[in-house]
Subunit: 505 residues, 2 copies
């Protein structure tokens, strides 16, 4: 058969997030699996393939390489690319079943896969996700703890345990929190697979379609996604110099929201620190309106100037604060171990949901954390990373002021992972990302953190903890260069003007 | 105030699963936290408390001990028990918030907490859950692998990874499965937090309220629970000497079920092995009706006679089989690491759900499994446990035949963890459990595994892998003794007669 002809009808989706080479590989791979192209057929030369799809030769080469890795084609030196012999089970396998039709409708979130993409380690070594620097992961301590004396690991500890987690770890976490002015005991603590899971369980236990949830805007993507996926309607509280109490009260009276989700300490993405007086006022308002406040607190131990005020949970006499935190940010993300502090009635209900999801969290991570906390290793580790991250925060803010002082507006945060910038020109941050990504610099465009589309288009979140000072300075220089290029190009101003909403007919 | 008077109105729920001492502690604790009993108040002496609630003195002592551990009371030597000074934050804390009213309705499953209770390690050392023996957990290998040479652990491996799991582990799992006649590649493999999570994700991705799901009856509790919780209606296929093809076909025509969930190899709880001809027939039927089959396969490597037939997935030319398995049963449960093999379209959708739940599974367990599989350690470990578990299966079946041959009917399984017994008398297995539990023997009553209430009342699942041969023989002797006692008591026959359904007015 004439392969080129068979492919000629195929169209690439230029607006898709999927790279061109994967789209091409998908089209050819499908025809191989559908047995349209049979074993041993010679495929078009790379140059011809490139022309056929109107792409570069590199893209065509990458498409063939991908298919080769999948075992669907093979290259013969000097002769070209051929359809491989595909095992019968893979040929057509799974294609007769209309999987997509069999699936439940997935919540249409504009950014539903963005979080996953941000987390997937990118080769260029960029620093998009909020990832602590691997150089500070306590790998040696991890190895020592596992290698430690025989008695430390009882095989029984590797069996099934209660859904709420190891009692020993729950006790150690409670003790640690008492040291941070949160009066609590083991009964109020549950171990989760990162604080992402705690958010999911709160959604399952508390939210029904039609419920209202108030979140800061911008806020952590994962929280927004989980609440939306449970069918809740999201109300945004703009993050500004002052906490918008009157808007919150308005929401409370008008919508009676089920809960308010906050990151009061070194907010993600803006870095904002909620001052003590605002915390007190918020708790008064919450008590008056019987509002449940979910306090997400991953960063409070990562302060680089003075200690932050006591957490909302620590000040909470009313009892409506549910507190979440995690070891992912201070130790390493792969631990996937966080915790919730809440009333036992809520914890119990969350544990019933968790039982369906994974029975209980991983024992290796829990066991390691028991040893780590028990040996008193956390304070030293925290002191180390605080010292290093402080230098990085200083280096990046200084370099940004020096190189991008006119183009970017930002305030250096007092803790956490991020510097939040606003572009002082009519340049879209997504466009800026395209421009710098090739130069090995990355960030998360502001729109990822907003409740409504088109917000945050000129904002960006830079993470300063993953790279060392020199690299951060270089990144700031490259950002400046990209901003200058875009300014010169000057084409962006049109893009930012409000586009009329065209009906799709 | 007169404490005894304040307590006199309180009632214990004698039918509750909660022990009496905890109920008493709850009643007193509540009054302390509600500030009904104030700091320093002397509580009734233990003897008086026992009389007040009509319980033993030990129960009263335990209630005070529990309150003391919670920091709500303190004992003064020779003088009695007093209300402690409770920090303001805990006093009344969380009680003003009506948590229970704030929560979403929980699916009313008669056994919703049973799984959690079975999994919670019980002190008497019983063997209720399907737990491999801790004596065979590869703890030394685990320690060696973590302590191994420096180069083996790259800190980057401890950061965030793709939701689907480490590529390296997915590749190793695919390779392992190819060795078990399942033609697959990394793209079809996703790592999950145990196969429980795989079931949950399938439910999220495929089931909507009103969908039908066919399961074997009896079957694994966790699967039944997850499917019910997604609102699916469950149709049961009785497990019998022959697979009920005509009933399944009836279901397929009448209800068009979304999926069929099966454990074809060493079925939980019955131990049944689906023969090869039935597997082929099932796949023909599935292809004809475009039925999705979820094959749960945790036990197939734990065969004690000949190897089992190839899995459904391995025979599946039609492409409708989704395959699940786990390392929990062959290595240790605390790994919480399982995997799904499915069409990439379904995997991708499941990964989107998983991202909301935990971003990705724990890296420590995944990293360990990479090293373990890569070093070729699995076959040796499997040979070891197969040898040991075979001896145990033989020991327990021999002892059961010898001591309970008349009272219990069972067939020794050819693999897996369980012996499924039917009581040949009118004795309820739940009653038998009460009788033997005190003697340190435990099992799961049959009704836990059934779709409908009142089924399996005279059946029980014994697990033979957790204890050594001597202990298993002793357990069989104790079971026989308990059966004899119940037979003599003879009171049970009445209980088993069908009770009339009385309207609740």
């Amino acid at each position: 058969m004439d392969i080129s002809k068979a492919l000629a009808g195929a169209r690439l989706d230029k607006l898709s997030r999927q790279p061109m080479y994967l789209q091409i590989a998908g089209i050819i791979g499908e025809k191989i699996q559908d047995m349209v192209f049979s074993d041993g057929t010679r495929l078009p030369p790379e140059r011809e393939l490139a022309e056929l799809f109107g792409v570069s030769r590199t893209t065509a080469i990458n498409a063939y390489r991908y298919l080769e890795k999948q075992g669907l084609v093979f290259a013969r030196e000097g002769s070209g690319t051929y359809v491989a012999e595909v095992p019968a089970a893979r040929k057509d396998g799974g294609r007769r079943v209309p999987w997509v039709q069999l699936m439940t409708p997935f919540p249409k979130l504009p950014l539903s896969t963005m979080l996953r993409e941000i987390l997937t380690p990118n080769v260029s070594g960029g620093s998009m996700a909020g990832m602590p620097d691997p150089a500070f992961y306590p790998v040696d301590l991890l190895r020592q703890i596992f290698a430690g004396d025989n008695k430390s690991m009882d095989p029984v500890d590797l069996g099934h345990i209660a859904t709420e987690g190891y009692d020993h770890l729950r006790r150690l976490v409670a003790r640690m929190l008492v040291g941070r002015s949160i009066e609590t005991t083991m009964e109020n603590v549950m171990i989760t697979a990162g604080s992402q899971q705690a958010l999911y369980l709160i959604g399952k236990a508390m939210l029904e379609p039609g419920d209202y949830v108030v979140v800061e805007s911008p806020t952590f993507i994962g929280a927004h996604q989980v609440f939306s996926a449970s069918g809740a309607r999201i109300l945004g509280l703009p993050v500004a110099r002052q906490f918008p109490f009157s808007l919150l009260e308005d929401y409370l009276i008008r919508y009676r929201p089920k809960l308010l989700y906050l990151i009061p300490t070194y907010h993600n993405p803006t870095g904002r620190l909620m001052p003590e007086n605002e915390r007190r006022e918020l708790l008064r308002l919450a008590a008056r309106h019987r509002l449940v406040v979910v306090e997400d607190d991953p960063y409070s131990e990562l302060y680089y100037d003075e200690k932050p005020p006591v957490s909302l949970k620590g000040m909470d006499a009313y009892g409506g604060v549910v507190y979440l935190s995690t070891f992912s940010k201070v130790l390493f993300p792969g631990l996937r171990t966080g915790y919730v502090v809440a009333h036992p009635a809520l914890l119990n209900r969350m544990a019933m949901e968790k039982q369906f999801i994974d029975l209980h969290s991983n024992n290796l991570a829990q066991w390691f954390l028991c040893q780590f906390l028990q040996s008193g290793l956390l304070p030293g580790h925290l002191a180390l990373v605080r010292g290093e991250y402080k230098k990085r925060r200083n280096a990046l803010s200084k370099a940004l002021r020096r190189y991008c002082g006119e183009e970017l507006f930002f305030e250096a945060p007092r803790g956490g992972f991020f510097i939040w910038c606003r572009i002082n020109r009519s340049i879209l941050s997504s466009r800026l990302l395209q421009q710098v990504f090739g130069a090995g610099v990355s960030f998360v465009p502001g729109e990822a953190f907003y409740v409504h589309p088109r917000e945050g288009e000129r904002e960006l979140r830079l993470c300063f903890v993953t790279q060392a000072e020199k690299a951060l300075q270089e990144s700031a220089r490259r950002l400046a260069r990209a901003l200058a290029q875009l300014k010169r190009a000057g084409k962006e101003s049109a893009v930012l003007a409000n586009q009329p909403v065209k009906p799709i007919v």
